[in-house]
């Protein structure tokens, strides 16, 4: 089976998932992103790499942050941007995904940034677009959120450049998290030797260890000597029910506090993909503390998304 993300020459054609991408391509994206970090600090925050191209943000599922950062990234590359919130328009009128996509193809968009609630929906769209269109996955179901995974490893690399000598712990709802899956694949592909997941058994998918991670159910053991702590968001509807008894108990057992963070290395960094539930998965003092790199993640997110678009657009 050919990797649907690569063209015949092995170059990136779509960005659908980190899984199966060669290290070379990940490194290319991260290195390109480095060159874009400075753009935001200039007076004129634009480069002309995608001038004349049209990027279409198609969001079948609500998002403010991801959509905004993709929009900023595209605009800084001088592309024209169309935003489409499909769940509020066509789909409620019975239009199928392919109808929606066909219409946008007819409008001569060059790049689709797609978020959808179903795992695999973005692969599905990528299979049905003509050759000249690239598709970027902005999150599909529980499956993948590759730009988030990339911006997270970009952040890690900035603070801890020696990726081959790191211990990274992911904490929280891995079961429902596309971010966790993309982070795990990005970290393992880039050669991080030890990736851990820490969660109650109800929030871990079957066979998670086959993704190349070590499984812990206890924060003290799991965070011990970690260099990087990546927190995962816990959705409101999962805080009390059959997966977890209550947000309070979750915070007590798996919430990141200063005390629990002290098990990690003293210079460990703390990350979170946002939006955070303060007092549920992370304590405010940690989120706003000196070890937190949560806001730099957002800043780097724009540079990484610029890099992905520039590479797919042929401009980098």
């Amino acid at each position: 089976m050919l990797n649907p993300q690569l063209d015949a020459d092995g170059k990136l054609k779509h960005l659908l998932t980190i899984e199966g991408l060669p290290k070379k391509i990940l490194t290319q994206i991260l290195d390109t992103a480095e060159t874009f970090v400075g753009v935001a600090e200039r007076d004129i925050k634009k480069v002309p790499l995608l001038r004349g191209k049209t990027v279409c943000n198609i969001f079948f599922e609500n998002s403010t942050r991801t959509r905004t950062t993709f929009e900023i990234a595209a605009k800084r590359l001088s592309a024209d941007v169309i935003n489409l919130n499909v769940n509020t328009s066509s789909q409620s009128k019975g239009e199928t995904i392919l109808d929606t996509v066909d219409n946008l193809i007819a409008m001569h968009a060059d790049m689709f940034v797609v978020r959808h609630g179903q795992s695999g929906a973005v692969h599905f769209i990528a299979q049905h677009v003509p050759d000249n269109i690239s598709v970027i996955n902005a999150g599909d179901g529980r499956h993948a959120h590759p730009t988030q995974g990339l911006l997270d490893v970009f952040t890690v690399r900035r603070y801890k450049p020696d990726m081959h000598n790191l211990r990274v712990a992911l904490v929280g709802d891995v079961l429902h998290s596309r971010v966790a899956r993309s982070e795990i694949h990005a970290l393992t592909t880039l050669g991080v030797p030890e990736v851990r997941v820490i969660a109650p058994k109800t929030l871990l998918p079957a066979g998670v260890e086959k993704l190349g991670v070590q499984v812990f159910h206890d924060m003290k053991a799991g965070l011990k000597d970690a260099d990087v702590v990546m927190m995962l968001r816990l959705q409101n509807e999962r805080m009390s029910g059959a997966l977890l008894p209550s947000a309070q108990e979750y915070f007590k057992t798996f919430g990141l506090t200063q005390e629990k963070l002290s098990y990690a290395k003293p210079d460990a960094i703390v990350m979170h993909p946002g939006p955070m539930n303060r007092g549920v998965e992370i304590d405010s003092s940690v989120a706003d503390g000196s070890q937190s790199v949560i806001l730099p993640q957002v800043t780097y997110g724009i540079a990484v998304r610029m890099a992905v678009m520039a590479i797919l657009g042929g401009g980098a």
Binding site: S119, G120, A144, A206
Partner: protein, 424 residues
């Protein structure tokens, strides 16, 4: 019409025949095997040199989509597909729209099938009204109308009290209950085997235990109530083990597996291939091996097509939103043959799994070529290679995970009541 089928290799598992013999057909019946009856003069001779002559195949589960889903398939399209697949008898599950829970609907279906005269159609009636798992159907009336057993199709009965009573009631009259065992709650919203693949793809999993738990309760109730139960579409190693033990303990249980599950695993989902979205889900390689072994040692009695034609619109969707199921009538033979080849067992065994064994489960007269039996015959070339191509399939459903693959074994002639219903 008198037909002489000459020079073919006859395989008839029920009568334990596996040898080169001619077959003579007259007035819809088999009138001679090996030698012609006195004064037999054929109107037509079929040269079956290098071909296998077998009883017409019996399929335990084919959705014909009538009534209610004619946009997916019609009786006409699917019975033509069945004939092309060498199938002369098939059972259809009750999950039509409306559900087969009224004698009138069953009579209509039987009547329409009879007019087409391509395949014997044996409906399975709904075990509970609307398949809701609450109220029993009129099983005696439905049987009179032509039902050969009772089923819940893919709908689980969650109320064990109802399940128990349904078994007791069916046992009163000696009816067989056909159930696909799956725990409703563990399977809820799941679309793939709960394992590494589902975890990687972010698909909601159905644990293998969902089948094991349900089988354990069904077998227990069948044992207590002394009911004949047929377990449909086994998918797990655990399920095979439970059936094996139950058979040893004397529970009246039989089981089948779909032709898809003999060959595919959750790896075949690949990059979200919606054609691999099946019910039950494709499971692990270990499960598949156990299914193949279970077939071989007789724990699993039959292979069925689990034919489920789905229209393109219902498959052209993200994996979890796509309708489950595969078209299968025309693939039953080659997939059964492939099971035999891959598992180092005989052609004879493969034919038994799609003729005498399913006929015995349905308790119908079919699946054999005894003297004076109905001349329902499949004649096929076991060595003929063909590529599975949507445009060549007669079924209105083109949805199969085997599209593009080359398989061995193709039907050349199908006869129903001594009439040729299909010729390649």
């Amino acid at each position: 019409m008198k037909i002489h089928i000459k020079n073919g290799h006859l395989i008839d598992p029920k009568n334990n025949i596996d040898t080169k013999q001619d077959v003579y057909v007259a007035a819809g019946k088999i009138v001679g095997i090996g030698s012609a009856p006195k004064d037999f003069v054929a109107n037509q001779t079929i040269d079956a040199t290098d071909l296998i002559v077998a009883p017409g195949f019996v399929d335990l589960s084919a959705r014909l989509r009538e009534p209610g889903s004619e946009h997916k398939a019609t009786l006409n399209s699917e019975l033509l597909a069945a004939a092309a697949g060498g199938i002369t008898s098939l059972a259809c599950p009750p999950d039509t729209d409306p559900v087969l829970d009224e004698p009138g609907l069953v009579e209509m279906l039987k009547h329409r099938a009879k007019l087409l005269n391509l395949v014997h159609v044996y409906p399975l009636g709904a075990l509970t009204r609307q398949l809701e798992g609450k109220l029993l159907t009129e099983m005696c009336e439905l049987t009179e109308a032509g039902c050969v057993g009772f089923s819940q199709a893919d709908v689980a009965i969650t109320d064990t009290q109802v399940l128990w009573r349904a078994f007791e009631y069916a046992a009163t009259f000696g009816y067989t209950i056909f159930l696909r065992a799956e725990d409703y709650y563990l399977a809820k919203d799941g679309v793939a085997h709960d394992g590494e693949i589902a975890s990687r793809l972010g698909l909601k999993g159905i644990p293998a235990a969902a089948e094991g738990l349900a089988i354990a309760s069904i077998l227990r109730i069948a044992h207590e109530t002394k009911t004949k139960v047929h377990l449909c579409r086994l998918s797990t190693a655990e399920g095979v083990d439970l059936v094996r033990q139950a058979k040893k303990q004397g529970v009246q249980v039989t089981a089948d597996v779909s032709a898809q599950h003999c060959h595919l695993t959750d790896h075949d989902i690949g990059y979200f291939n919606a054609y691999a979205n099946l019910k039950p889900p494709l499971r692990s390689a270990r499960d598949r091996a156990a299914l193949c072994q279970g077939l071989k040692d007789g724990t699993i009695d039959a292979i069925c097509s689990d034919h489920t034609p789905v229209d393109d619109d219902a498959k052209l969707l993200p994996f979890a939103e796509a309708e489950a199921g595969a078209t299968g009538l025309e693939l039953l033979l080659p997939l059964a043959l492939k099971w035999a080849t891959d598992n180092k067992t005989s052609l004879f065994d493969a034919i038994a799994k799609i003729t005498s064994q399913p006929a015995s489960i349905l308790a119908i007269d079919g699946g054999h070529l005894s003297l004076n039996a109905n001349a329902d015959i499949a004649i096929f070339n076991p060595k003929l290679e063909w590529k599975i191509d949507a445009s060549q399939l007669k079924s209105q459903g083109k949805n199969t995970p085997f599209l593009g693959l080359t398989l061995l074994g193709k039907v050349q002639y199908t006869l129903l009541h001594g009439q040729i219903t299909y010729q390649a």
